[in-house]
Amino acid sequence: MKRMNSDAPKSGAAESVASLGSDQPRREALNERRVWHVYARRKYDEPLHEIGNVVADDVELARVYARSIYDEFPWIEMVLVPRDCIVTVIAP
């Protein structure tokens, strides 16, 4: 399969920037689009694993959303990866 990932065309970075442009209706400004995958781990001997995702058009809000939504464990590490940066090598 040649695709980058399953949804690059519909939630790519280019689109998320365009949605904030002046030619879009103002109400679109409230509809955040960029998907960020949230990875975290609880223990030092455990690898990071995907625990969920958030939608935010800028990284600072993405950080806040990830922290407040995925607070089920006292994580020792949490990172965000924009979905449109993921390169799929083997698809499920």
Partner: protein
């Protein structure tokens, strides 16, 4: 957006038989996609509406700590709603429209949330009864669903629902220690018990959506889930000497109801009209469809913020 290429029914069922989870729209048949959207919408709406419904009662918290734990539960519920609507959005659903522009009566959450919780006592009984119902339904989905992204997301949800129902139980035990507290609990249980029994929906012999079982959307039937709920809710009430119209029948090896069911309910008075005898499930469906007293208020609370912000933006 390009319409996703869907699979044939046969390809989908083959995948399920190979015990490979369904990971995205590309793995679904049109029928599976419709079904998973429907069941995810019910779950998302239920999580979402529990926020304003619980907030309505949380303001009666008797201590700061109690208020804090009630608000923490509300925050969890909004997280659960976020997860379910995110999944719907990845399936191509316009969730902004779904959440902010839908008619309140079109929301798919259980009728129980349309009957306002008006006190701290009612809130903690809701934690013990409603969150237990949510826990029973979501654990079942966790164990049986063939939709991978949902299954993985439910680890967090299940953990938090357990905390919610323990919160309800602990507060019930605490309030039950005085005769006045016991009396208040009994009054809440009197209307809330049957509403939760009813929550699990049509009995198996009247139920339509059979693909819910074939596709692994559910592992147990409605009646089985109702039994699972009663198997812990009834002993809790017995422990606290709260009367409920249900008991375990060792001969049938299941819980049986001791009152007319289903029955008519006076939502304003929060009273079951048991003296009128049982009604039909059609009557119940009619009541659910008309929604209850707080439907508009609670959905309005959710939708208000976006409307106000749009008005502001349009004035610029």
């Amino acid at each position: 957006m390009v319409a996703p290429a869907l699979q044939s029914e046969e390809a989908l069922l083959n995948r399920i038989r190979r015990q490979q989870l369904i990971e995205s729209v590309e793995h679904m048949s049109p029928l599976y996609l419709e079904g998973i959207k429907r069941i995810l919408t019910v779950s998302a709406d239920t999580e979402l509406i529990s926020a304003p419904a619980y907030y309505h009662a949380a303001v009666h918290a008797p201590t700061l700590n109690a208020f804090g734990s009630a608000v923490a539960i509300i925050q969890d519920e909004l997280g659960h709603a976020h997860i379910a609507y995110r999944l719907l959005r990845d399936l191509g659903v316009d969730t902004e429209q779904l959440i902010f522009e839908r008619d309140p009566r079109q929301f798919k959450y259980p009728y129980a949330f349309d009957v306002p919780l008006d006190s701290w006592v009612e809130l903690i009984v809701a934690n013990a009864f409603y969150d237990r119902a949510g826990y029973v339904l979501l654990s079942d989905i966790y164990h049986s669903t063939t939709f991978g992204p949902w299954k993985r997301a439910l680890v967090k949800v299940d953990k938090e629902e357990t905390f919610h129902l323990r919160h309800g139980e602990q507060w019930m035990r605490r309030l039950n220690a005085t005769p006045e507290g016991h009396e208040q609990l009994q009054r809440a249980v009197d209307w809330m018990f049957l509403l939760t029994v009813e929550w699990f929906g049509l009995p198996d012999d009247l139920k339509k959506h059979s693909e819910q079982l074939e596709y692994g959307f559910k592992g147990h039937t409605n009646d089985e889930l109702r039994q699972i709920w009663m198997s812990t809710a009834v002993p809790l009430c017995e422990e606290l000497q709260l009367k409920v119209p249900a008991h375990y029948d060792p001969e049938q090896q299941k819980y049986v109801l001791d009152c007319p069911f289903p029955a008519h309910f006076d939502a304003k008075a929060k009273r079951w009209l048991l003296e009128e005898g049982p009604c039909s499930w059609d009557d119940v469906l009619k009541r659910w469809k008309a929604r209850g007293p707080a439907n508009e208020e609670f959905v309005g609370l959710i939708q208000r913020g976006k409307r106000e912000m749009l008005r502001l933006l349009e004035q610029e």
